[in-house]
């Protein structure tokens, strides 16, 4: 019961999607679309599981005064403020994203700056990663260094000022050698994915069942 039925469900679902892909006639034509909607519904329910795990772990941290419980209070406060603001927007403007609703204020002045700033850390990390990784230790590393430098120079106006050919070299590197390797990797991933999918459908990949 605990292993046979899940394997059967995976097998049936996988085979149905593959077969339905080739049959336009009802009900197969929109089968894939419908199953993806089912997927979103199951995901919606499971989110309750996730949020419960987050809330419970933080509440225990607060109740047991474990180290860092103060920040758990901040987390829970943020959670409740945003939830209340969202529900208020939903009730008042019948949509959480109503431009002048309370939620949009939380979104514009809290979520957006946090999101944009975390994203912008990449400018720093890309610089330190480049400094460290681009050392001509081996042939491969020096190639990494060479093409990265050429493309970087080619993309900034200063590059074009130094020599008119630089932007053209950058375009060529991106369109030919880079495309060739990317295509090979894509084909490899496609074959690996198909084999892995088959192993899952045939029940050879047990991971969470075993």
């Amino acid at each position: 019961m605990k292993k046979e039925i899940p394997l059967l469900i995976t097998f049936v679902t996988g085979v149905i999607i593959v077969i339905a892909f080739f049959i336009p006639h009802q009900p197969f034509g929109r089968m894939q679309e419908k199953l993806l909607i089912w997927y979103s519904i199951v995901l919606g329910f499971t989110l309750l599981l996730g949020v419960d795990s987050l809330v419970r772990s933080n509440l225990t941290k607060i109740s047991r005064r474990q180290p860092g419980w103060g920040y758990a209070v901040v987390l829970m406060a943020g959670f409740l403020i945003c939830l209340v603001a969202g529900i208020a927007s939903l009730v008042k403007y019948s949509s959480i994203i109503a431009l002048n609703g309370p939620f949009m204020y939380v979104y514009t002045y809290i979520i957006v700056p946090l999101q944009a700033t975390m994203f912008s850390l990449l400018a720093f990390f890309i610089a330190s990663a480049a400094y460290r990784a681009f050392r001509a230790r081996t042939l491969e590393a020096s190639l990494l260094l060479l093409t990265a430098a050429l493309v970087m120079i080619g993309r900034v106006p200063v590059g074009a000022e130094i020599w008119r050919g630089l932007p053209a070299i950058q375009d060529w590197i991106m369109e030919i050698p880079q495309m060739a390797a990317k295509r090979g990797i894509f084909i490899g991933i496609a074959l690996g994915t198909i084999a892995m999918s088959l192993r899952v459908i045939l029940g050879l990949e047990r991971t969470y069942l075993s």
């Binding site: 049936v12 499971t46 970087m152 990317k182 490899g188």
Partner: protein, 207 residues
């Protein structure tokens, strides 16, 4: 007025996140925990408003966007699988959630096969069938072949395979270096965006 308060809050959070670059500190911990809490609540709101309500509740209770009764009541099946997932709250019944996990894994496997063959394999194969009449075509075909040889698992990298796999690695590394360099500009733009906010929108308030 609310805009000015809002800008101060935004500027404070921006500096708190930037402080992480120096080292972990209370300001970053505050901003991080606030971000996780607020975004988790946003996930709940967004999932309800754009997933569960339009795809499940509306169709079943108000039969909105549903053509036939079959379409309407068949939605009970994913709802049941959703509830099975919640069985994880009761340790003894947690094994029931495997039924829901296996449904989603089945979807992954089905999509894996047809998605890759139609979406990746066919177009990429077509793109590689080129006559060797130009330098670029030669480089493209040689690049794809040697990259594939690098991924060949069933033979040790010896002799001819070792040489072509090495050439494959040359292509792969050149490609990764190029896409690394290509992305630097986009990431710097993000920093420009944030510093602009601090300089023009926030410090502007002080002047």
């Amino acid at each position: 007025m609310t805009h000015i308060i809002g800008t101060w809050i935004a500027a404070g959070l921006t500096l708190a996140i930037f402080s992480f670059l120096y080292r972990d500190n209370p300001a970053y911990k505050f901003a991080e925990h606030l971000y996780v809490g607020v975004s988790a609540a946003f996930a709940v709101l967004y999932t309800w408003a754009f997933d569960i309500w339009p795809m499940l509740v509306d169709p079943i209770f108000r039969s909105r966007g549903v053509t036939s009764p079959v379409d309407r009541w068949i939605l009970l099946i994913p709802a049941i699988f959703g509830l099975l997932m919640l069985a994880r709250w009761f340790p003894k019944a947690a094994w029931l959630s495997r039924w829901s996990i296996s449904l989603t894994v089945g979807i992954a496997a089905g999509l894996g096969i047809i998605g890759q063959i139609q979406g990746i394999l066919l177009p990429q194969i077509q793109g590689t069938l080129l006559p060797l009449t130009t330098i670029n075509n030669i480089i493209l075909v040689v690049g794809v072949i040697t990259t594939l040889i690098y991924f060949y698992f069933s033979a040790a990298h010896k002799g001819l395979i070792r040489v072509s796999a090495r050439i494959g690695v040359v292509f792969i590394m050149a490609s990764f270096g190029a896409s690394f360099g290509y992305t630097v500009m986009a990431r710097i733009s993000l920093l420009i965006g944030r510093l602009n906010f601090l300089i023009n929108d926030w410090l502007h308030l002080l002047r």
